[in-house]
Structure formats: C-alpha cells, structure tokens
Subunit: 178 residues, 4 copies
C-alpha cells in the first residue's frame, strides 16, 4: 500500500506543456516535492519492512495500529499535491507537517503494540530499542508546524532534515537482525 | 486489492483551491467520508486477513466467493465519491448502504464457502463462530437503507455505528488463533 | 497486477451528475460493462492463481509469457472504457474482442511454456489438460469479432457467453489439485 | 510497484474520441509508446524477480538501493506521457533516455549492494556475472541522449535496440539458477 501511495504521487505530476527547457522549469519544484514525498514514504516502507520482518506474531491491535499508520501515509500524496499547487504556502506546509507528525505518532503506536505482544526481552525489542529516533522526529515536527506560519521554508528545511536523518542506515537494527 | 481501493479513494480527494482555512473547510466533510470508507475497507482487510490466515485449503468456490466480495468492495470508492459530491443526498446514501449490505452478504458467503471446505470441527470454524456479528451488520444495513429516504443522517449514523462495532477487536477469534 | 487493472476500471466510473434515479440511469450500462470486465479479469485471476499455485519451477520464457498475458490484460480497462463511451459501437466492440482474443492466446502460450518446463507427466499437466476450454474461447472470439460489424450486440452476447462458460468451476482441475 | 507503474501508463491512454478507424489512428503512436514502456518496466520486473529470488539476505543498503531503483522506474510513466504528448520532440526524448540511464545505473548499484553482502563466491555472484549487459545498456543510453537533439528517432531506435537486447533470455543466469 505504501508502494501504491508513492505511485499515486507520480500520477499527480503534470506533464510539461511544451517540449523545451522553459516548459521543464515549472515542473522542477513539483519533482522536488515528489522526491521528498518519495523519501518519506520510502523510509516508512524500509522501516516497516524491517520491523514486520522481525515480527512473528500478530493480533488485532497490531492490525489496527498498522491500518492507522497507513491512514496517515495514504494522505501524504494528497498533502504533497496541495503543498505543490499552493507553491509552498504557510497553511499547506503546516498541514503537511501535521500529517507527517501523525504518521510518526502512528508508527510509534505500532511499535508499542508489537513490543507489547513480543515482550521486552524479545529479539525485536533489542532491535527497535527505545525508539529515540522516532520520538525525536515527532518533536521536530511539533517545532516545525508553527514555524510554517513564520516561514514555510524553515518548516520544509526541518522536514528535509528529518528525512535525511532517517536515510542514514540504522546500523544497530541491522546488526541485531543479522 | 482492498489496499488499492483505499488508495483510490485518496486519489478522489480534491486539493483545496486556495491555501487558507476557508479553502480547507469544504474539504472537511470529504475527508470525513474518506475516513469512514477507510474504516469500512480496513475492517474488511483485517477480518479477511484473519480468516485467510487460518485457511489452509482453497477451491474454485472460495476463489469466486472472494472475487464476489472484492467486486462490492471495489465499488466502495465509487459510492463514497457519489455520497460526497451529492452532500449526503438520500439516494446516494441509500446506494452506499446497498453496496455495504452486498459486501456484508458476500463476506458471509465467503465464510460459508471456507467453512464448507474445512468442516465444522476445524480450528477456523471455532475461530469464526456463528458469524453473529456479520448477520447483525447485514440486518442493520437493511434497516438503514429505507431510513436514508427519511433522513440520510440516520442512515449514516447507523453505518458509523456498524463501523465502530467492528473496530472493537474480536477477542474470541484472536484467542482461538493464538 | 490483475487486481490493479480491475480497480482502474472502477476509477473510470463517472459519478452520476445528480442524486436522483434519473441521474443513476445512464450509469447502469457503464456499471454492466464494469461487471463484465470484472468477470473477465477475475476469471483470469482465478485460473492464473490455480495454474501458478501448481507451478514449482519458473524460467525466463515463463516470465515473458506471463508479462505478455499481463500486457493484453492491462489493455482491458482501456477498451472497456472505449466500448462504454461509444455506447457499444461496432469498432470498439470488435477491438474489445480482439484484446480478449489476444489475452486468451497469451494464456494458452503461458500454459504451453509452463507445461514445457514441467513435462507431460507432471501433476500440472494432468490438471491443465488439453486446454480445450481455452481453445474453444479463442475460437468463439474469432467468430465474434467480425460479427461486431453486423451487430455489436451479437458480439457482446458471445463475450458474455464465454465469460459465463468460465464461471462454471473447473471441477477437473480442482479435484486434481486436491 | 513495477506492476503499478505499468498499469498507471495504461491509465494515461486517452480513449479515442469517436468509434471509427480515423479516431483510432492518433492512438496508435501512444499505444506503441505504451508497449515500449511496458517492455522496459517488464524487463526490470523479470530481472528484479530473478535477482531477488536468488537473494537470501538483505540489509539497509540493499533496501535503499532498491528504493532508488524504484524512484527512477516510477518516473517512467511520467516521461512516457511527455514523449507521447510532445510527439517525440528532442528534449522529452533525451529526458526519457536520462530516466532510463539513471534506472540502469540504479540497477547496477543494487546488484553491487547485493553482491557485497553475499560475497564473490556466492551462487548469486555466479549467476549475475560481471553485469556486462547492464554496463553496455548504460553506455548505449549515454550515446543516445545527445543524439536525441540531432534526431529523436535515432535515440528511440537505440532505446528499442536496448529493449530487444534484454528480451533475449539470459541463458547463463537461468542455467545457474536451475
């Protein structure tokens, strides 16, 4: 489903009205927004894959926590489009941050639901750790959202920072899984 | 495929024409409709997952019963859009209930087809039980559909009640599967 | 991918412009076209599932034969839309039959590629048999296509007949797989 | 996800405005572009399947290399549409080649990441070989891109050549996997 959300974003890309460099220029910011959304959804995909791969049991609570996460992730193409069409206006940028924040909170809730079933001494619990990275991301979004009304670019800068922060492979999880 | 139907609903969401709070207001009911559709399809997804997970054999009848269910679920984005665009008019609300009813009936038929293959003493039969919940939902939809012509909000209220009713985790199934 | 093609067809459904019975009437033929396309793609899905389930080896030829089948199936939403928008005009109806014919031929080619790898004495070969049903369907399409220029309804009637013909569960395959 | 990208391309196909042969004619080049895009994405799908099938371990680097490949492949429907709408103008044709080149480079990077984890003496390393085919394709794209500004048809010719070149089943990989 994360894959579908990513591909829906590309469906939203408008083909340039013309075939010269001038026609390509207005598409550049949209492509950058797409790339940013791709990195966000891709990060969730990778981490989700890592976590579910180490999960060997499932219950109703986990299924619902997972659906809750997918709900917020499914709104990412919608807010990405809004930010793009409004040329990074304050409110859309803040709403974008809000959706990212709620997705981060949903991910933490999913982690908690999985850890509750597997117990604190499980292989997964060691791999996931105390989810400092997730909590820090959520805190950064909380800071970024009001700043979007001061300057959307500060907020976008913080979102990009969080994205890059997640791009760094989480060596601790990998080594535990290996 | 349920995942695709969910994501298609988000594709139908219109981006607000503007970047202020006033532009966001008309989108709110559409987002609520989306959230309701998400809960409906998500409930089917979770229950479907639970049931198919406990299924170890399959035959042509099950495959067709499954496709029949997917047919009605695939119409959910279409009727959700119609309800949203008509601002909860009576006929679209009744048709929405009709699609939900037919999906509920198709789910019961799928359950019966799976139980017929696995036998009444199987682990699955114990987990699924007598499908009281499914039959009660279908009965509530039958009541709600004519009421949509009295007041669409009564019908919507019943649909939301059924959705919340399913959100409560089915502890019986879980404990049997565990 | 067949699931995606099905859901794309529902995306093409136009929401009625109004909320009364009169507005619903023009949508009825489109919904019937959708249901027909759903049955066609669903039949391929079920048979494809049955066949690949009994396949334990794969090679490059099978992968390409599979892609070739998916190519023609991916065009089904496109021709379904064209038939619907042209209100069952002769040429679109003939082209629709052409795509169904090429999909049927591609399915036969996939069957041959799988049987060539598994050998004539395999469990699969017994299950699939001599593919009489597939060859008969192809022959019926060949007859239907020119008849679309006489009367599109004769051609549509033959397509519906082939679809119903496939809906009857293939007991032979099932019993062999069981 | 490659499947989704393929199906999105068919969603972009415009239904002919009419029901006669004249209406079908302008659709022919678009269908050819679709077929070309289908072959490109299908080739990646098959090779991707082959490679991941022989992969028994995974790490963060492989997940990101995989996402990087999917990023460029997800842009294929977008550039395909642009090439089609601009009737094979030089710039869109060059950009199309650029996306194909970056996808080819991403595939090489994914191969390197997988081989780095599995070691040079693994079954996979023998199957994948020295990736001469991938490097040659990348080199051909580098040659084709500037030639698009001389004549887009020369560039398209080279892209088609690379596509056909990949259609030939890779007997070496198959025999090793078998």
């Amino acid at each position: 489903m994360i894959a579908i959300a990513i591909t829906i974003m590309v469906l939203e890309l408008r083909v340039p009205h013309g075939a010269d460099w001038a026609a390509l220029r207005p598409v550049v910011p949209v492509l950058l927004t797409y790339a940013l959304g791709f990195v966000f959804l891709g990060t969730y995909w990778n981490n989700h894959h890592h976590m579910l791969h180490a999960t060997d049991r499932i219950n109703g609570k986990i299924l619902w926590a997972n659906l809750h996460l997918l709900f917020w992730l499914s709104l990412v193409p919608f807010v990405t489009r809004w930010v793009g069409e409004s040329h990074f206006a304050p409110l859309p940028t803040a709403v974008y941050g809000g959706v990212l924040l709620l997705a981060a909170v949903a991910y933490l809730m999913l982690t908690i639901a999985i850890l509750a079933l597997h117990g604190p001494s499980s292989r997964l619990a060691k791999a996931v750790g105390r989810e400092t990275k997730g909590k820090l991301s959520a805190a950064l979004y909380v800071v970024a959202i009001p700043l979007a009304f001061v300057s959307p670019w500060i907020a976008i800068g913080i979102y990009v920072f969080v994205a890059l922060f997640w791009l760094i492979p989480d060596r601790r999880i990998e080594s535990t899984i290996r």
